[in-house]
């Protein structure tokens, strides 16, 4: 079992962001964390989780570092008996709000991994993305986290923002590797509808070669490419859990839960969530849906696709792709050697 907790607060809005989060509702934080606690308690008891079975916890957002550690304390207390001893406990943080106090507070609650939303070390690019921090903030925050002994550190980068060049990205990657991280996520910019960037879609640059360049540059420095946008010496067990379709609890406004066959959706709107966190929409998945998901998730990551789940037609296509060198077969699984083609291969297999 995995647990995801959503913190829908940010101190400013990034131009590309479509996450469920809001700016300027900080007054509701204590109440939100309390209601969230209520949902967590309820879900733990009603979804077949057993003590000592939660292997990973991920606190994401929004910006979890906008919430002081004290407010998280009851959650950790409640979760403690359910967690396995070696649980991976990740929290996302933004460089400008991840202070030494906050980081050490979170560490003492049990956090083992911090993932920093850095995006770039180029001041001008950060401004254009609408980020609230500077390159200096990012470097300091990560060094501090290391200093106080957080075991696993990760950072995010964005590429194919217009103006990105190999040189700029090479500098970003070099700077990232100069820091004590064991994991890096590199996302190609996606223009999401409803975001400020949707009005200026040209901000996204269509340079496929740059994507390959970024991946090569990161792997050349020793991180394994284990999913389209994820690299690491350490691979996040929480992320891998999603792509393996393991069950997860989705706690918080706009979070999504999954019990193996049904997805659950608590209210996404904060106010609705505050009054009625248990009013969840459910989405049952058919065996076909699940097969499709296993196919595309397996192809975008190192997980691969179990040949046993494929229909005879799909199997036939997989064999064809293997003969063409587009897939590799090993012990009854098909692996995709080029994650950047994952969707195209999935479509071909789905036929």
């Amino acid at each position: 079992m995995l647990v995801y907790i959503h913190i829908p607060y940010c101190d400013s809005r990034c131009h590309y962001c479509a996450f469920n989060s809001c700016v300027g509702r900080f007054d509701t934080r204590p109440q939100y964390l309390a209601v969230l606690h209520r949902q967590l308690t309820y879900d733990l008891e009603h979804t077949g989780a057993t003590l000592n079975s939660v292997e990973t916890l991920f606190i994401g957002g929004g910006t979890p570092s906008t919430v002081p550690p004290e407010l998280y304390a009851p959650i950790f207390e409640t979760l403690a008996p359910w967690l396995t001893p070696d649980a991976e406990i990740t929290v996302e943080a933004n460089p400008n709000s991840a202070t030494r106090d906050w980081l050490s507070g979170m560490q003492s609650l049990g956090v083992t991994r911090v993932s920093f939303g850095v995006q770039s070390f180029d001041a001008d690019k950060l401004r254009r993305l609408g980020r609230a921090h500077t390159p200096r903030h990012a470097i300091e925050a990560i060094e501090t986290a290391h200093d106080i002994g957080v075991e696993h550190l990760s950072l995010d980068l964005i590429y194919n923002v217009s103006g990105d060049t190999r040189e700029l990205l090479e500098r970003d990657i070099e700077q990232a590797f100069a820091l004590p991280i064991d994991h890096l996520s590199a996302y190609e910019l996606t223009i999401e509808s409803g975001t400020p960037f949707a009005a200026t879609p040209d901000i996204r640059q269509n340079d496929d070669a740059l994507a390959f360049f970024v991946a090569e540059s990161i792997t050349a420095r020793g991180f394994a490419h284990y999913e389209i946008s994820n690299f690491g010496r350490y691979q996040s067990r929480h992320n891998l859990g999603y792509w393996e379709l393991r069950p997860y609890l989705g706690i918080g406004a706009g979070a999504v839960g999954f019990d193996g066959t049904v997805r659950t959706y608590p209210p996404a709107d904060i106010d609705t969530y505050l009054t009625d966190p248990l009013r969840q929409r459910t989405e049952p998945l058919t065996p076909d849906d699940l097969r499709t998901e296993r196919i595309f998730l397996g192809l975008r990551s190192r997980i691969g696709v179990d040949a046993a789940i494929l229909t005879p037609k799909q199997k036939h296509r997989a064999v064809m792709l293997t003969e063409e060198g587009k897939l590799q077969e090993e012990k009854g699984h098909y692996f995709n050697p080029n994650f950047f083609l994952a969707d195209e291969i999935a479509l071909f297999l789905m036929g």
């Binding site: 996606t190 997860y248 999504v256 975008r300 969707d343 789905m350």
Partner: protein
């Protein structure tokens, strides 16, 4: 109430014109002037009943109505037939005129005489019909009725001393026109006591009443309960019911009298026994001579129609059968393609007809279809002396078995403003045309007549003509027979395999340029896929052009965590549905448009 009116008070006439000159709109005004349709039930071009006619604003099928009209206190019957103007449907004009005693020749007051004006006049003259020149759209600022009347006199040799000027839009001149119809269109003069002698000039299928025949009674009459004989089939049927056509709904009648038109219900399950052009007579006392019929509609253009989903073959067959009930010009027979599976080779009157049929199949029957490149019919004399007809390029025998290929030629008539003559002559020369005639109708309008292979003009010529002359030229053609041609089959290979559905027959002299252009066009149309796709054009085993669709480099979205999975799945499913509209040939996905791509290439 239906009342008996003597033959002297009946007028049977068609409205003919070039496309868009206002036939259907004028029909509206005449219908209204006769008070046949209430204000509430009236709509623009009320006789264009098919959805596709309404949408495109064109008439596809000729329609008849019977109207009551009082003149000087005396009742008259006006039987009006509105005809299509587009060249593809000139067969509709022929059958309409065969049942008429006269016709209104409509000419647009701004545009003047156009190619189908002339073509339709010739059909009327063959039928020996009285023609009333009518200049329409006189409300337009650019209207110039005098010039137009002079054009009619000079281009057609029709005396225009007596003429009508109307605006079908405002209604101006319409009641005078009706007076002229009564005065000048000859009344029918059939023998009322002779045995029944009626011409089937349309037939169609009604879900409730079965096959229906629309007839013009030349002699005698048809009565309910009468036993009649269809002379072509020699089959006898009882008359179950009779109706007069009316713009909104047919009106029942116990009898269709001499000189009238009407609908005959015989309870037949198919229209096969009610061929247009056939004669209906009395079963017991048959007439000696059938009415001279007319040539059945003959398809000129053939193309393959294939369901994208291979299991929809039977559905396509049903749909084609149903369409043919109301469209006797549509011909089809099953064929199969290595690339596309099972489908039909269908024959059409022209490109517009083909477009209309495909659109109706897709819309009215919910089918997803691939139409292959249209082709004309070729005749091939084989070295063993056998002569065969080819409707599909892939049927062409191997080169060493061919003695001669004969291709169809047409007489093409083009009317154009003087300014474009130079460009047009160049276009026609490129298309292997030979000039037969060039007449100046007046200082600014030129009539060109060309002898030209049909395969150069039935496909994309119309679009080319319009773009060359900014839409000002019009064009008509008429088949003139088969002649030997130096032709070869050009094959397209996708990923090394010949795709039979893409083969075309081209003049040898143009094979190379066409091959290059075709390959280029396909390269644009076939999207990048997982594999590099080689596209080649070949004649026999010789590759004459090649190109590659590069393999896709990247197709993936950046983020997919727990909350994104459902959205991502739905997106992929949507993309998959989009791909379903493409045809898989081996491992290559080819979009529908590719099969028609040949129409977009020059040369």
């Amino acid at each position: 109430m239906v009342q008996a009116v003597p033959q002297s008070h009946i007028r049977n006439f068609s409205i003919i014109a070039h496309i868009d000159h206002g036939k259907s709109t004028l029909a509206d005004r005449i219908i209204q002037e006769c008070g046949a349709v209430s204000e509430r039930q009236m709509s623009a071009q009320v006789m264009d009943t098919m959805e596709i006619e309404k949408e495109r604003g064109i008439t596809i099928k000729a329609q008849s109505v019977r109207l009551d009209y009082i003149k000087n206190g005396e009742p008259y019957i006006l039987n009006l037939i509105d005809t299509p103007g587009h060249v593809d449907f000139s067969y509709e004009v022929s059958r309409s005129l065969a049942s008429s005693d006269g016709a209104l020749l409509i000419v647009d007051a701004a545009q003047g005489v156009e190619a189908q004006t002339i073509a339709n006049v010739y059909i009327a003259l063959e039928n020996d019909l009285e023609l009333l020149p009518v200049v329409n759209k006189i409300d337009l600022p650019a209207a110039d009725p005098d010039r137009v009347l002079t054009e009619v006199e000079e281009a057609i040799g029709l005396d225009c001393t007596e003429h009508n000027l109307v605006s079908a839009k405002t209604g101006k001149g319409v009641s005078e026109l009706i007076d002229a119809i009564v005065d000048r269109i000859p009344a029918p003069a059939g023998d009322e006591t002779a045995p029944t002698r009626a011409l089937i000039y349309d037939s169609w299928f009604d879900n409730y009443l079965g096959a229906l025949a629309l007839v013009r009674v030349f002699d005698g009459s048809i009565t309910r309960g009468q036993k009649v004989k269809v002379m072509g089939t020699n089959e006898e049927h009882p008359v179950l019911d009779l109706m007069y056509p009316h713009p909104i709904a047919p009106v029942k009648t116990p009898e269709i009298r001499t000189g009238e038109i009407g609908i005959v219900v015989m309870g037949l399950k198919t229209v096969d026994g009610l061929k247009v052009g056939d004669t209906v007579t009395d079963a017991r006392i048959p007439t000696a001579e059938p009415i001279p019929g007319f040539e059945p509609a003959k398809p000129f253009v053939f193309a393959g129609l294939y369901p994208i989903e291979t299991d929809k073959f039977e559905e396509l067959r049903d749909a084609l059968n149903k369409l043919r009930l109301n469209d006797s010009a549509l011909a089809f027979e099953p064929e199969s393609s290595l690339a596309l599976g099972s489908g039909f080779r269908a024959g059409f009157l022209g490109m517009l007809h083909m477009e209309v049929v495909k659109e109706r199949l897709e819309r009215e029957f919910g089918l997803d279809l691939i139409a292959t490149a249209p082709t004309v019919v070729y005749e091939v004399l084989k070295t063993d002396g056998e002569r065969i007809e080819i409707q599909n390029p892939s049927e062409l025998p191997e080169p060493q078995k061919i003695d001669t290929i004969f291709e169809p030629y047409v007489k093409a008539t083009i009317l154009t403003p003087n300014d474009y003559v130079g460009n047009l002559i160049k276009l026609l020369n490129d298309r292997r045309g030979v000039q037969v005639k060039m007449d100046y109708l007046n200082a600014n309008r030129v009539l060109l007549e060309y002898d030209i292979p049909m395969n150069e003009i039935v496909m994309d010529f119309y679009d080319k003509l319009k773009s060359t002359t900014r839409g000002y030229a019009s064009f008509d053609y008429e088949p003139t027979g088969f002649r030997p041609g130096k032709l070869v089959k050009l094959d397209i290979r996708v990923a090394g395999e010949v795709v039979d559905a893409l083969s075309i027959i081209v003049p040898e002299s143009k094979a190379r340029t066409r091959g290059l252009a075709f390959v280029q066009q396909l390269k644009e149309l076939i999207p990048r896929q997982l594999f590099e796709v080689a596209i080649q054009a070949s004649i026999g085993n010789t590759i004459i052009a090649r190109s590659n669709v590069k393999s896709m480099g990247k197709n993936v979205t950046a983020k997919c965590y727990g909350g994104d999975i459902t959205r991502k799945r739905k997106l992929l499913e949507k993309q998959k549905a989009g791909k379903k509209r493409m045809k898989s040939i081996g491992k290559v996905q080819v979009p529908q448009e590719a099969f028609m791509a040949v129409l977009k290439i020059d040369g």
